[in-house]
């Protein structure tokens, strides 16, 4: 009995350690995508330095150690990232920004290409699992940016939008170690001060800044805690080429 308990404890610790290595605000949230290139780590949406603009940040492949692990991390050409914008609170996207990596045929540099915000037609504005499938219409291209490295920082702008893709310091902060121990029953509360599990780690980020006018008008009443403020419902999706 005692032996079994020890094994259970070891097994539990193993799970906690594994989770610590891989988790973020959404990272390793589900078994079939954990640690893969479609595993979204984090998503942010906020007003830009120019208040007429909105900024979206998507992080993938979190908890990269500095140096080689960061330098060798690459975006996957088979993974399409999509930022969805619902501006009438029916939980169905009305605008979509599509993002994918390709090698520039002239310069042979790795670029990130940005499409949209595409205005979706009313026929696609139904609650359907069809929205889990996507294709890219190259005519919607808004711009591209050379993918940055730790030392070669590249941004670009076109069509009123700004673009970035590359390794960044992971903006997420959380004492995930202690949280796991609380969930596992070995601790009863957080320490003060806590320890940021994500301190000193990097992530691959995609940042796009767009004019709010390109998102359409938000809808009043979606957020009951800001009932007079027009709101967009936004979310990010990662889709793999079949």
């Amino acid at each position: 009995m005692k032996k079994r308990k020890i094994f259970a404890t070891i097994g539990g610790l193993g799970l906690v350690v594994l989770s610590i290595l891989l988790i973020s605000a959404d990272h390793i949230d589900a078994p079939s995508i954990s640690g893969t290139s479609t595993d979204i780590a984090d998503f942010y949406a906020f007003q830009g330095e120019d208040p007429n603009n909105m900024v979206f940040v998507i992080d993938v492949q979190g908890l990269l150690a500095p140096g080689q692990p960061t330098d060798q991390a690459i975006f996957d050409e088979n993974v399409l990232l999509e930022i969805n914008i619902d501006n009438d609170n029916d939980m169905i996207e009305d605008r979509v920004i599509q993002i994918i990596k390709r090698k520039d045929p002239t310069s042979l540099e790795d670029n990130m290409y940005f499409f949209g915000p595409v205005v979706l037609t009313s026929s696609s504005n139904t609650c359907s699992e069809q929205n889990l499938l996507s294709t890219i219409n190259a005519e919607n291209l808004s711009g591209s940016v050379k993918i940055s490295t730790s030392s070669d920082i590249q941004t670009s702008s076109s069509n009123g939008m700004q673009f970035f893709a590359g390794p960044r310091e992971d903006p997420f902060f959380f004492d995930f170690t202690q949280y796991s121990q609380i969930l596992g029953g070995s601790e009863t509360g957080f320490n003060n001060p806590g320890t940021d599990t994500f301190a000193g780690t990097n992530v691959l980020s995609v940042v796009v800044e767009v004019p709010k006018s390109s998102l359409g008008s938000g809808v009043v009443g979606a957020n009951p805690f800001a009932p007079t403020v027009p709101v967009y419902n936004v979310w990010v999706e990662a889709k793999r080429k079949q």
Partner: protein, 212 residues
Amino acid sequence: MKTYKYILIFTMICTAFLFVECTDADDNGNVLGIVTCDDGIQNGDETGIDCGGALCEPCLGSLDFSGTFIQEDQMGRPGINVIFGTTGMKDAFNTTVPCQMTAAFQSSFQSNLLVLNPLYTTNVLGLDATAFTQLLSKDVLWVAQTGITTYFNGTEILTGRGLSDDVIDTSLLLIFGGPTGTDNPILTSDFVPSNDASFSNSFPYVVGPFTN
């Protein structure tokens, strides 16, 4: 006759200059005056004919964007599937469209909330377990079209998510803090109030990676 010959030579020279101007062979964009992305020539800082550079659309060349892409992951608010997703249902959550999420996952989210905090009644937003998990199971992030965008800054509530927002403390407060936010004080903050690097106020806002 001699005069006619000079006129002819003069005309030829002028015509030659016209021809040179029209071809814009020096490619400096300084003859026609205005470089545009639809003038049919590679000029300015374009890297192809009417493409590339700072002003024109990127040169697509032979780039292939074909194919169908199928969803594997999604995220709106931070930590939703991580905290409330049920073992065996997390992959399904990632491949469910938001308009179908509440019907599919609200009840299991509510069960998980009550596992995390068996004494949950309401939280500081006045949401009972059903209302709270109805809100969370629709995994979209609200972002205000105008004004301050923050997960929570003491005044604005769920109007976006900025880089420096302590989304973990907000989440812990709503799960464990009870109706006044004072319940379970050792569970309502992880006491990590900020990131270990400062953010930029300018694009791209997130800062450079740590290096060895």
